[in-house]
């Protein structure tokens, strides 16, 4: 989850809103599962293969959607995922179809090993993104978030960067998928390509704080905690758990649009400077970006 949210946020940092993250997630999951079942390769190799598949899918998406921005890109990613889901449903000979596919019992690993692998994976993906953001890439991405054509003038090749960013995000999301698959040992098109995963990653990021490094991590913990609490304690009436979940989500967005991390940073800042600053720095920095991004549409005919 942390991995997925980090991956999503990384992509969003360039203004690419993905609603199809489960495409990478699912593709990674299927790649590792099917390879293991057919050729009994090792866990490590399967992770490697899945990351490659995810990265390839990410790159393909970026190249294919070259000209799309904002909402159009988001809708294209939905289409990408749906097409993959239908393919997985309709090719039962390969994927097991809607009845799903189980990981070979012999290939299963201990829970402890997977826990450690997950932690290593999470740390590695956070570090990778952190390091990448330290490089020149960061400025290119900032520039693209604000204005792609301006970025182009600065000598940034948007397509190249987009492809790179999507590939990294795709690989990281695939990693998350693999870990989850090894953990649950079962996969079906519904699980692999559900929009729920993509949205969950977003919710985590938003709740934690978008475009920040720490945000997705905080968000992932909060969202899972919340979902667990509602699922376990609200079983009296059918539907309540998700109802409450929705309510919390809506109030978060309305009252804490900068996320928990944003709010914390603001509070800390205002405390540090003596509560004198009127405009909230993080929110503002963000909203000015948004104003410029909001009204954009693809070139009209």
């Amino acid at each position: 989850m942390v991995i997925l949210a980090v991956s999503w946020n990384f992509m969003a940092s360039t203004g690419l809103i993905s609603l199809g993250h489960s495409a990478f997630w699912g593709l990674g999951s299927y790649t590792s599962m099917l390879l293991v079942n057919s050729w009994s390769i090792s866990f490590g190799t399967s992770v490697f293969a899945a990351i490659l598949a995810g990265a390839a899918a990410g790159a393909l998406l970026a190249v294919a959607t070259g000209r799309l921005r904002g909402i159009y890109f988001a809708v294209a990613t939905i289409a990408y995922t749906e097409a993959l889901r239908v393919a997985a449903m309709m090719l039962p000979d390969i994927t097991g179809g809607s009845t799903g596919v189980y990981l070979n019992q012999s290939a299963r690993l201990s829970q402890e090993f997977l826990y450690s692998a997950a932690i290593v994976g999470a740390v590695a993906s956070v570090t990778l993104v952190y390091l990448l953001m330290k490089t020149r890439l960061r400025y290119a991405m900032r520039a693209m978030l604000n204005n792609e054509s301006a970025a182009q003038m600065l000598g940034v090749n948007p397509l190249l960067y987009r492809t790179f960013v999507s590939a990294v995000a795709g690989g990281v999301a695939a990693l998350a998928g693999v870990l989850n698959t090894w953990y649950t040992g079962y996969l079906s098109p519904e699980i692999a390509f559900s929009l729920h995963q993509s949205v969950l990653a977003q919710i985590a990021t938003i709740i934690g704080g978008v475009h920040t490094q720490v945000g997705p991590i905080i968000g992932a913990f909060v969202i899972l905690g919340l979902s667990e609490i509602t699922r376990i304690s609200l079983t009296e009436f059918e539907g309540t758990s998700q109802l409450i979940y929705g309510l919390v989500l809506v109030s978060f967005i309305l009252f804490l649009p900068g996320g928990i991390f944003g709010a914390m940073r603001n509070r800390w800042l205002s405390w540090a400077i003596g509560a004198k600053i009127r405009p909230l720095p993080t929110l503002k920095a963000q909203s000015s970006v948004i104003v410029s991004a909001k009204r954009e549409r693809p070139p009209a005919s």
């Binding site: 989850m1 942390v2 991995i3 997925l4 449903m89 309709m90 039962p92 179809g97 809607s98 009845t99 799903g100 189980y102 990981l103 299963r108 829970q111 997977l114 826990y115 997950a118 994976g121 999470a122 998350a176 870990l179 989850n180 953990y183 649950t184 040992g185 079962y186 079906s188 519904e190 699980i191 559900s194 729920h196 995963q197 992932a220 913990f221 899972l224 905690g225 979902s227 667990e228 609490i229 509602t230 699922r231 376990i232 304690s233 609200l234 079983t235 059918e238 539907g239 309540t240 758990s241 998700q242 109802l243």
Partner: protein, 402 residues
């Protein structure tokens, strides 16, 4: 990753709630991961009603020991279902599991169940993937017919009612139910001597079946066998009616005998043939050895209606019966999973939905199978007329004419 986090959080939570609620020592806890929201909420809700009511029959205890169902909302999401099983078995350490119901959820939790293997009353899942994966497990008790039970009974029944040699077309959906059913439907109908003139795939949730119906019309089948979800059968039945295709016999599984399907399908339900272990409005006498638990069907239905203000369904009656079987075994064995397994194996009582006795399935895939006996009925003038087996027959089959 996600699941792991979930498990940690859930563990912490479960500890805090469980500590106050009950000492594991004097309470028997039964984990009940059910679809209490999301797409399959109707399944989960029925499962929960059944379990609750069974517990009420036992006054909340067996042999003076308190029993409780730990309900978990798996939100019709396989990931959440896995997380729930993990939380229940790894953290809360329940020894018994009741649920989930939908095939997809069921399939997803199998690997997670394998970690600890609590005694599992599996009241749900018609797909044979389940049978292949866990059917042979000694701690797994399946209390719901598999898809092939439907086709086995239906093909045999139809053969005895309308005779074999008829031309049929099979419509199956691309979901788990359709996909796993198809080979069995093919096999059993062939064995019963029917000619399969065509097989058509439909998409789950589709709005338009006209292209399929146009193809079927040209095949001129004498019977149409559908392997689709209930909601799709509403749309499909309506469109068949609208298209005015002259097919004498329309055949489906359980859906036809569900009250919600009947209401939704309206006039389009006329003539449909389905099957179930429980047909609304039928009578079944009280169990001889345990009338306290399994009274006559009408008495039980009255109790159910008084409690929930809704009409019971096959799932309600089945879940009640399945949960009761578990409680009966607990009554005899005490809180020891191995003994409970032995007692479950020994059970032999009449229930609301047929004989409560665990036997091997005909395929041999599942060692503990109950409630696989089904009755065939046809919707005639808004009523279910039982056609098969002959001993419970209440009327004759009618061919549709358009």
């Amino acid at each position: 990753m996600k699941v792991k986090l979930r498990a940690c959080i859930a563990g912490a939570l479960a500890l805090s709630t469980a500590a106050g609620a009950a000492n594991a020592a004097d309470t028997i806890q039964i984990g009940a991961p059910l679809e209490l929201s999301g797409r399959f909420v109707a399944f989960g809700a029925a499962g929960k009603r059944g379990a609750e009511m069974a517990l009420e029959t036992f006054k909340g205890e067996v042999n003076g020991k308190k029993v409780e169902f730990l309900f978990r909302d798996i939100q019709s999401d396989p990931q959440a279902a896995v997380a729930s099983i993990n939380e229940l078995t790894e953290q809360t350490k329940v020894k018994y599991i009741f649920g989930p119901i939908a095939s997809v959820m069921f399939a997803a939790v199998i690997p997670a169940w394998r970690q600890q293997k609590p005694v599992w009353i599996g009241h749900g899942s018609v797909t044979t993937r389940t049978e292949e994966e866990v059917g042979g497990e000694r701690r797994f008790f399946h209390t719901y017919p598999y898809a092939y039970h439907y086709h086995q009974t239906m093909s045999a029944g139809l053969k005895s009612i309308i005779g074999s040699g008829k031309k049929i077309v099979i419509v199956y959906s691309d979901d788990a139910y359709g996909r796993t059913s198809l080979p069995f439907a093919r096999q059993f109908y062939k064995e019963a001597g029917f000619e399969i003139a065509g097989e058509e795939l439909v998409r789950q949730g589709a709005a338009d079946y006209n292209p399929i119906l146009t193809k079927i019309r040209r095949l001129r089948p004498e019977a149409l066998v559908t392997l689709v979800q209930t909601s799709d059968l509403v749309t499909l039945a309506k469109q068949i009616k609208i298209a005015g295709i002259n097919i004498p016999y329309l055949v489906d599984g359980l859906d036809v005998l569900l009250e919600e399907w009947q209401k939704a399908a309206g006039d389009a339900q006329e003539g449909w043939i389905g099957l179930s272990g429980y047909i609304h409005g039928m009578e079944r006498p009280a169990s001889k050895d345990r009338p306290d638990i399994f009274p006559s069907l009408s008495d039980w239905e009255k109790r159910f209606r008084d409690k929930y203000q809704v009409e019971p369904t096959y799932l309600d009656a089945g879940a009640y019966s399945a949960a009761s079987l578990l409680l009966m075994a607990l009554e005899k064995a005490g809180d020891d999973p191995d003994k409970v397994v032995e007692e479950l194996e020994k059970l032999n009582t009449e229930t609301l939905v047929g004989p409560g006795r665990f036997t091997k399935t005909s395929t041999g895939g599942t060692v503990h199978q109950a409630f696989e006996s089904l009755m065939i009925a046809q919707r005639q003038n808004g009523k279910s007329i039982i056609l098969y087996p002959p001993e419970v027959k209440t009327g004759e089959i009618k061919a549709r004419t358009e």
